[in-house]
Symmetry: C3
Subunit: 344 residues, 3 copies
């Protein structure tokens, strides 16, 4: 499909500057954009590209002041990144969605499937499963017995949902994520063996949650492991049994949270962070990548290091660490001087 | 099902204190327990909940001395956590198990399947596979050619077992674990290319091993990668080719062990630990979370840091690191004083 | 199959020393080799095993000088590891390969499948897919719509390839790897919520790439995430949206690369390394295991630490860190001396 600059400006409530009739059929990054494409300038670091891009249309912030002439038509909007997000979404939605129940799927006669659901080839839907409207289950996905899934949720190929899990509405679960495997609980025996502690709880995922590819969320020993509304988990994250993650907390790839820790709302957690078990992390906490959290953290803290400490303090200490050799030389010199002074 | 306090006390060889006829139908955590549920006090940190819980029955240690009156019936046992584990297991076992061979599975006519086995929908069982008694293979699991699996082992949905692997009895392998993919072996070529080194060994997993969701265990280049009896691996762990992990060693989520390292018995390894290749880790070693092990470790060591060092020393050094600024100020001051002294 | 020492020496262009008619049927590691097997000495650390091994044939470097008598026949070659790799490959190839299109697979009538392809049971091949010659798709693998895959590429069981991805020739993708899941992109909203940014780009994997089990490579927001020819990725690695990895770069298990970072050619990246977003890593860079890279790195650098610094400097600083207590004692003593000096 093609759109004119005028049509796009109307859609985004933006202002057109240049030829309003120029037409585009694709979106592209500013450093790769060619004629017939539309691009955007959201990150100031890319500003120099705007003077050389061949893009027919460039989306810019409303107060953008060009320092040189620009070839294409500008569309000025209040929030270029938000506007771009809207265009990407429209583009995505223009692709037809998968629908219908494949004859090659296994759907238990004791499952309840609401209208307009897609269940792909070789998907497995167990006894007592309840699927809401517009749920999309891609091929090879496993939905264990008595799992409930809310409206408009998508499970990509190879997702595994163990029995009794609960998923809310408008969630996206990416391929090969595993929801509800056993928590890691073993009782030590006298002969160095361990005895498995049966894990009879479940996992509850609320609404608007995104879970990345390969991420694993263990079921609770007793009670529930809970992922609150709006949480976004990236790929290959491990969430232990009985963990609770608060609303709108965002976690980057490869983080691990050990059993029974509670994480607050609106936290931002960098990649490869490890959080020990039985801790309480407050709201609005920011944790730098690779941090190792071994004690509870209060609201609003910004932490870094392994074990974790206040981030600004870590950075200062790390500068000294980096220059450790110089510091030791200063001590060496002090010792030399003292030696001389003492010898007087 | 409902049970009376007396019945449960008899089962656990415990002593009933309070109404022995009170009945419960569920287990719950002490902070969430309601009437008609049974709870437990195993961790002293939760003691204050026992005075407010609505649980009808509370499992406590035999020498527990309440400081205030408690509403429900107490059952005193020697080991509350062990007793809880037993109850959880009974609860779990009360659920009917999956049985039978699904007509929607692929089972090679050249596979040997013992009695009482479950093979779920869309499972794949290759040529020459040998499955023991009571083996349970959930939907979508792949068992490559000539894999042997011992009695009472469970493979959850989406497990991948490459050809020639050997699994013992009473193992549990969680969803999307991958056993026997190629080791990461490449021979550098003169033009910066790498040539793949074929990996013709296998993986041997002994008895009573638990392997978490998404964990990957590579086959040996030659010979075997070996996971000894009683080992417990959490989720998203990586075990390289030709690694050997000793009996009853426990490893938390997201650890990685590079090729050819040997790990001893009864080790406890925290989350996100990395162990380099070709090392020997002794028996009874404890490794703190996020440690980076780059040299061999003797029996009984407790280590921490990246690269790893003795844990108590790491903790001391880290306290100084944390207060690095103060230390540098002390050096600054010393220099000031010295300067003055010298100027006399 | 059995081979004589002479036959093997001819094959490897090596020189036979000892009985040329001795026959072997298997390869084994030097510390495990028995009669009738052939072994090798590639790593000098294993030299002492050569005097006690029962192997019938030992592959050694052409200039190897034994210090004691050796039981078996030696075959001297220029590059024992390369020769071994060749034998392993021959051994591997002696196993018959899977062929044919399973009737239990789903293959879209709108897919193009070239000759001599294997598509296993319960594999899913979507609309518009193009598979080259000799492509092997193991059971349970998902190939989304409009994916193109080059000749001689193998996808093991449970691989997930989202729509529009491009894979080159002679690639190997191990079980449960996920190619093309959504990048982790969310636009913050005023109420602490996040709005998903649709990810409309794709993943391009060039030729001769190996991707480990459970590794995840996200699609680009716009444009492509690109894995260049010859790249080798180990297991459980996370590659973010719009990342580019240069030719012949090798990455060990559990590394993570955040969105939009560009990595050069011929880099060697250790296990559990984290690389932040929007960075440029040059060519021939070496990164030690567990390093945290938070700023761009120039060609040829060797780095270590979290945050990363020059490796040799890190090692020096870490020695001081390890001995921090001694250093603080020196400062204590200096202060004592100064105090005395001042009191004069």
């Amino acid at each position: 499909m093609e759109f004119s600059a005028r049509e796009i400006a109307d859609l985004l409530q933006g202002v057109c500057e240049g030829d309003p009739d120029i037409r585009v059929s694709q979106l592209a990054k500013i450093e790769e954009a060619t004629k017939g494409t539309m691009t955007f300038l959201a990150n100031p670091a890319y500003t120099n590209h705007i003077y050389s891009t061949e893009a027919s249309i460039v989306l810019v912030k409303d107060d953008f002041q060009p320092e040189k002439p620009i070839q294409g038509t500008l569309i000025r909007v209040k929030d270029p990144y938000g506007a771009l997000a809207r265009l990407l979404e429209l583009y995505k939605k223009s692709n037809p969605e998968k629908t219908g129940l494949s004859k090659l799927a296994f759907i238990s006669p004791r499952a309840q499937i609401a209208e307009n659901t897609y269940i792909g080839e070789f998907a497995y839907v167990g006894d007592g499963v309840v699927l809401g409207k517009n749920v999309r289950v891609y091929p090879h996905t496993y939905i264990g017995d008595n799992v409930h899934i809310g409206d408009d949720t998508t499970l990509y190929s190879g997702v595994r949902i163990y029995e009794n899990s609960r998923l809310g509405a408008r969630c996206t679960i990416h391929s090969n994520a595993v929801i509800g495997a056993d928590g890691f609980g073993f009782a030590p025996q006298t002969d160095n063996n361990y005895k498995k502690v049966a894990q009879i709880g479940n996992v509850i995922i609320e609404d608007n949650v995104e879970i990345g590819a390969g991420t694993t969320i263990d079921r609770a020993t007793l009670g529930s492991t809970i992922i609150r509304s709006g949480v976004k988990l990236d790929n290959l994250i491990q969430i232990g049994h009985n963990v609770v993650i608060g609303e709108n907390t965002v976690m980057a790839a490869q983080c691990g949270v050990a059993g029974s820790s509670k994480i607050g709302k609106n936290c931002m957690i960098g990649g490869q962070v490890g959080i020990s078990g039985h801790l309480t992390i407050g709201n609005d906490v920011k944790i730098a990548a690779q941090t190792g959290v071994s004690s509870s953290i209060e609201d609003g803290q910004i932490i870094m290091g392994s074990p974790a400490m206040e981030a600004s303090q870590y950075k200062k200490s790390f500068v000294y660490f980096r220059n450790f050799e110089k510091l030791v030389k200063r001590i060496d010199e002090l010792e030399q001087v003292i030696k001389k002074l003492k010898s007087y």
